[in-house]
Structure formats: C-alpha cells, structure tokens
Amino acid sequence: MTTAQPPADLVERHAVRAASSAVMAMTLFVASEAVFFGAFFGIYASAYTASKVWPPADVSAPGLRLPTISTAVLVFGGLSMLLARRASRRDDFPHRSVAWLWVTLASAIAFLVLVVVSLPDTHFGIGQGIFESLFYTITALAMAHVFGGIVLLTLVIGRARAGELAFQREPLQAASIYWYFVVALGVVIYLLLYVAAAD
C-alpha cells in the first residue's frame, strides 16, 4: 500500500464540496419527511372519502380560535426565518440573521405552548374514531417536528455566536429549509384538522 499523500487539489475540492452539501442533504431529508406525513394525509383522505359527513358524526369539532392564533404565530416564524436568510446576504452576516433567528425560535416555542394550551379544548379521546386518532397522532408528530426545529435553531444560533458561521451560510440555509417545511406542514394541518372539521 502506498503511503503517498492524496493530490492536494482533490483534497481541497473534496473538503469544500463536502462542507457545502448540507443544503442538499436537508432538502432530501425534508422530501422524506413529506412522504412520511403524506402517509398520514393519505389515511386522512381515504377516511374522508369513506365518510358521509366530515368529521364523522360523533366528533365534537375542536375550537378554532387558539389553533388560528398558533398557526399565525408559526407562519410569522416562517417569515422571520425568511428575513434571517435575507439578512445572511448582508456584509454583517451573521449579526442581523441571528436576531431574526431569535424571533423564529421564540415563535416556535410560543407555538408549542399555544398547542398545549389549546388541547383541553378538544373534547374527544384518541381511540374514539379515525378522525380522533389522526388528530392526536398528526398533532404529536407535528409538535415533535417543531421541537426538532427548536433544537436545530438553537444549534445554528449557538454556532453563529461562537463565530463558526462567519464564512459559511449553509447551516443557516439548511435550517431554513427544514423550518419552511415545518411551517407549511403547520398550515396544512390547520386546514385539515381544524378548518375542515369546523361546524
């Protein structure tokens, strides 16, 4: 076996390209997440088409007020993420981006709190029927994904504050792709579990 060094240009190229692959990896991960939630939405669709009325007759529809507020908070967090990405193009990066990331993080936490607060408004159990099962399962999975977003945002903010992001925007961009997905998911869930089920 040779002990020679690898060609320096290959090492350079490999290092640069591997380090800038986070966005592509996150895009693929989000695609897989979309299929994952798609499976539950598929079950929703087949239950919806099989049922004469929606939600099924015995379901007392969950209230709309708090979920509307929490979804608005989530969408607001999506906008602040958009602004964080815009700010990442400025020369003072990551200074202003981090400020917007804090806003996004706060909105994510506020969303989780609002969802937990709104749960006592739902007057049904998980096993009463297919709508109820979907309601709680999808809500729990969405909350887990928002929590995942909180972890991701905290990591990006931490790295930015430690000065590690001075020359690379990929971690922020990757986190934003995940967060846009979570926000879009929140809106779809709001429409399916609350608006479509409202009296």
Binding site: S32, G38, A39, I43
Partner: protein
Amino acid sequence: MTTTEVRPATVAPRPARSRALDWLTTTDHKKIGIMYLFNSFAFFAIAGAMALLIRTQLAQPNNDVLSPKAYNETFTMHGTLMIFLVILPLLSGFGNYIVPLQIGALDMAFPRVNALSFWLLPVGGLTILSGFVTSGGAAAAGWTNYVPLALQEGTGEDLWLLGLLVVGTSSLLGAINFIVTVLRLRAPGLSMARVPIFTWATLSTSVLVVLAVPALTATLMIVFADRHLGTAFLDPSHGGSVFNYLNTFWFFGHPEVYMLIMGAWGIASEIIPVFSGKPLFGYRGVIASLLLVLALSFTVWGHHMYTTGLVDDSLFSVTTELISVPTGVLFFNWLFTLWKGKIRFEPAMSFALGFVALFVIGGIDGVWMASPAMDYAVHDTYFVVAHIHYVLFGGSLFGIFAGVYYWFPKMTGKFLDRRLGNLQFWLLFIGFNVTFFPMHYLGLSGMPRRIETYTASDGWTTLNLVATIGSYVIGLGMIVGLVNLIVTWRKPRTATGDPWEGNTLEWATTSPPPPHNFDALPPITSERPVRDQRLAAAQAEVTA
C-alpha cells in the same frame, strides 16, 4: 475550515491505536463498507439457517420439527432479516466501498453519518431478533406483518416494529449520504453521463429509499399506536380500516423490491462488459431504464392488493406490465454486451450470467402475476414464494455473489480461489433451481404460503422433498463459499490495481486502495476512464 481538518491527518500520523478500536471508530468508507458486508453476511447465516429449518419442517407431511408457533416465528424472521438486514445492507456495503472509488472521491460526503448508518444496523437487527428471548416469542406475523395478526402478537412484535424503525433510519441516512456523495463529490470530468452503472444504480436505489422508507416508518408507527396508544387506524369498528395498513405498507413495499434489485442490476452491468471484453451495450439506455423503473415503481403497489377488492385492478395491471418494459430493455443490453464478446468464465462472470438467467425467470413470473386473472389463481400460494426467491435470491443474491468475487481483490488485494468459486457457483445454481423451481408447481397445485405442514393426501410430498434436498445443496454451496474465504485469508496479496482489466475508476488505484483512495486520477473523458488509459498506454507502446 474543513480543509485544515483533512490535511494534518496526512501529514502527521495519528498516535497508534489498537486495530480493533480503529475499526470500531472508523469513518473510512472502505472500512465501513467491509463492516456492512460482514454484518450482513452474519445475519445471512442466521436467516439462511432459518430457511433450512423451514425446509426441514416441510420435507415430509405432518412433520413436527417446528411447532406451528415456532414455524411462524422462523419464516417471519427469515423474510425480515433477508430483506432488511441482508440484501439491502449488502448492496449498501458495496455502495459504501465502491461508489466513492468509482466517482474518484476521497470519501463519502458525511463520513460520520455513514458510520452511524452502519452502527444502527446491528442495533436494529438484534432488537428484532431479541423477540426470541421474550416470553411470547419473536414476531410471527410474516415480513408483511399484516393486521389483524400484527395487533394480536406479543412483545416480540413490538421489538420487530422498533427494530425496523432503527433499520429504516439507517437506510434513510445512508441513502441521503449516497445521493449527496454522487451529486457533489464526483471527480473533475466525471459528468453524470459518464458515471458507472453501479453508481447510477446505487443513486436510484437511494432515491427510492428516501421516497419510500418514510411510508414504512409511518406504517410501523400506525401499528404501534394501535397496539399501545389506543388509536383506531386499523380498527374497522371505529372508522379505521385494514386498507390503511395495506396502502401505506405496499406504497413502501413495492419500491422496496426495486431497492433490493437495482444494485444487483448495477453489479451485473459492471461485470458483464469487463468479462466480455466489450463496452456495455447501450450505456445510456441502461440509465434511462433505471430511471424509468424508479419512477414507475411508485405506481404499482396495488398489484399486491388485487384480491382485496380495494384497488382498481386494471389500472395497477397496466402499470405493472409497463414496468416490465424498461426491465426487459436491461436484459437485451446485457445479452448484446455478451454478443460476440471474448467471454472469460471467472466466478464473478458465472454468477453474473447466473443472475441474468434466474432473474429473467423471476421477472417473467412477475409479468404473469401482473395479470389479475392469473394473480387471483396463485395469490398467496407457493407460486409467489417461487417468484420472490427467483427475484431476490436468483436475482439480488447471485448479483451480490458476483460482486463479492469481482471486488474481493480490490478490497483485500487477494483473489478468492477460482475452483472453489466455480464449485460454489454450480452448487448454488443447481441447488437454487432444485429448491425453487418445483415451488411453481406446488403453487399451481394450490399449496398456500406460510402453512407449517400438510397432509400426504394433498399430493405435495414429492416436490416438497425435492425442494428440501435442493435447499441443503444451497447450504453446502454457502459452506464452500465460507471455506473459500478462509483459504484465501492466508494467501499473500497478489492482486494488481486492475486485475480484471476493468473500466471504472475503482481499478485506477492500488488493491486495496490507500486510506485516501487515489494518489492520482487518470483523465476522464468517457464512462470507461481506466479502459481508455489502458488502450492509450498500449497504443503508445505500439508507436514506440
């Protein structure tokens, strides 16, 4: 930033560590690839022993080698291990070792994620197997885990669900890593239209994993939630439906079949040209076929559900017949590559040709069953068992063995023994056909899948005995393979960098390659850079 992390490693040697620790903590794609192969062959031995138990039980009518419960556990674990912990990880093992070499990269895009993907596998596999030590026994609902069976099982079923979640996570992380590696880390000059077919196959497989495995994850969660959280997804008395299970499971399940075969197609497409001394016929046609199969594989899942009355049989029949077209194109590509070639019958080539011969039988079985009229007749019979084994054993595993004989010198610098290799090939080829061909007739005469015994008056005795004898021949073939490995272990390293006169970049470095893969890369102006280099050198010699 990362550059400074990579360079010192090549300049300043690390302090010496024990060899075992070095393997356990490695992020080198080559070592991880070899660990994938070792781990998968270990599970292969377990799952293969289970297959022999199944065949022993079925050798005679009213046999009682296994109790009905033990029989159910055994065939469930046999299928689960072979599909999730043997075939796919074996292909991932080759992918790990070979893909970065074929694209002239120094490693995978995310080496630590790569190590994680590997280490999740034994964890998941052992979780699944640990069901055997619970009081209720291991999962016994079949690899398809149909409800309501899956809802009635004990703790073993929960371990099965959790283990598969872990294995699925491993596949997903690995697949994302493969896609990013192939798309981002190719050597200068290696455009996508010059990427070797095995790498294309690994890329296609990875896309399938990313878009289909999450459906399996959802399916596993639904079953777990119905079992323990009291949800009603699968409970018809509360608005749920078994349809929810079938749909999500098979949306994953049919692309899964292609995840298990595309890598073998890729291996055959590498080996057949090399040992025919010709370029692959229709390189671009092969890529187009792979991509068509990839797209169509998401449209055929309903053919597993013809007899349920829940799907539009004619729609899924058409899509299933359609997918046989690009698959058929591949056969013609392989055949025309052989045509007028200078064929060298090394064990790798024998296995690749065996793969073509057996996979065409499994493929034709599949085309028949794509017709609902035929499927209604043979659904859930041994005809389906014959089909799945012709595709996954005759197809995937013969391809994998071809890959073992082909790439072993690259991985170790040593050649597996040729005579033992040929002996193993013939034992497997004959044993395989003796085992599985009769199952077509057993299926046509009505023998259902998954039954633990039958009576003499059923008329299935002779063919079952023949199949069992065949399975022992297969077992013998596997032992010959193991002996070959042990014999070769002691041999000196004699393989050059390019022992087979290969085409692709893995042959442009030493055998085994240095930790950084390449000291230098040849110029890349076609999909066969190593062959181009060899021809240019020969030309230079002639003119000199």
